[in-house]
Symmetry: C2
Subunit: 243 residues, 2 copies
């Protein structure tokens, strides 16, 4: 296959190191990071399940999950039209159109198209940084900096609470929400999950070096309290379980 | 000094390994555990501050804080009359009556005696185990098992939410709440803190062996979001900071 027909100016193809899968990225915009790979490795999907990736970006998590799981259907939701188009072309060039769908939608409205409570699992690698301080004031006044990278990294179009709202709407009762975030926002993450009846069941600390700074959380809609805490080393290997 | 005059039948004196302090305990009842020592080492108190230890038991945390800090006043609140009496005698035998006060009160009513918002810091080593399941049903029907040990370990007289309520009432704005709990109840702990505007600022994982199962939390009343996560090894030494 001539992959060039799938590429637009400035884009490149990156090998995902699994099943010969490749993903289109634009180095001038936001490229996927280790966080996406960490999240895709954390997600547990059973055969035949329906999965939604909220804020799929270039589609890397949706495409990785197609290889790593036996999900029946994987839907990636992306608000940015050009990025969603890039993700859809990656799905096509990997010949995954029968299992992976990319929708160009704000995740706040995803349930209007996808329906409520129809998914077994939802994944999200949301923006990590808040745009407002605790008084609700904007902390980044320079709105001129908004681009595909800042949209992916800062809470410009979506807040953490809105991500949890979207996940709770899409998930069936007892469905699982998989989230990666910064460790210093753990309290915010648990607050948002709690507000939407998403009970944290697994909390894994990870990241590079001796100071891991990422958390992976599995929360269950309507789940019972009781948390397992896991630690990983800088290679992502499990070192100790807290319980 | 003849310490025997302070001891009742069945009680013993234990050396706290600091400043020649000793504490009276009754081996037939509940004796303080490593958790109390972990919490006392975690608490940070500035010179001249007022501190309250909720559920002080034999008074070990209040007495340790008198040695480890320059707190002006330390109040220990204990619901069980015989245990509060034992703690008060330990205060007396250590000659700490000018700085440490033991009150025999349910912590739900502590603010009625101590006033609201008058403390710089509150510490609590509360019961770790819930008495009810998520449907609100009792999980321990054998109420005959209630004794000083079960009261200290199970949420018989006080729930986690009531502990947070009591702490929030006693603390001044920006006052600190120091709590030890089981790691598997982290989501419950953050839920209770959040419900009373106590913002988690430090989360430390600790415990014995390769599977630490305790969390220490410092929360600030009216604090801004932003959490530091810390790990310790089985000797209680800091191994890595998550951030």
């Amino acid at each position: 296959m001539d992959y060039k027909e799938f590429l637009k100016h400035g884009e490149r193809l990156d090998d995902l190191q699994i099943n010969n899968l490749q993903v289109i990225q634009n180095p001038a915009g936001f490229c996927f990071s280790e966080d996406a790979v960490l999240l895709a490795n954390f997600v547990k999907i059973k055969a035949g399940e329906r999965v939604c990736d909220l804020g799929t970006g270039c589609g890397v998590i949706a495409i990785l999950l197609s290889a790593k799981t036996q999900a029946k259907e994987i839907v990636g939701v992306e608000i940015q039209a050009d990025i969603a188009d890039m993700a859809a072309r990656s799905v096509k060039l990997n010949d995954l159109e029968n299992r992976v769908n990319i929708l160009n939608l704000p995740m706040q409205e995803a349930h209007l198209t996808l329906g409520r409570e129809g998914f077994d699992a939802v994944a999200a690698n949301p923006p990590f940084f808040q745009m407002t301080n605790d008084k609700g004031q904007m902390t980044n006044n320079d709105i001129g900096f908004v681009n595909s990278e800042s949209i992916a990294k800062q809470e410009i179009y979506i807040t953490l609470d809105e991500v949890a709202t979207a996940a709770a709407r899409l998930l069936r009762f007892r469905g699982r929400f998989y989230l990666i975030h910064r460790a210093d926002r753990l309290a915010d993450v648990f607050r948002a999950l709690n507000a939407h009846d998403l009970e944290p069941k697994v909390l894994r600390f990870c990241g590079a070096g001796k100071t891991p700074d990422r958390i992976l959380v599995e929360a269950v809609k309507g789940g019972k309290p009781g948390l397992r805490v896991q630690m990983t080393n800088d290679k992502g290997q499990m070192t100790s379980k807290v319980n």
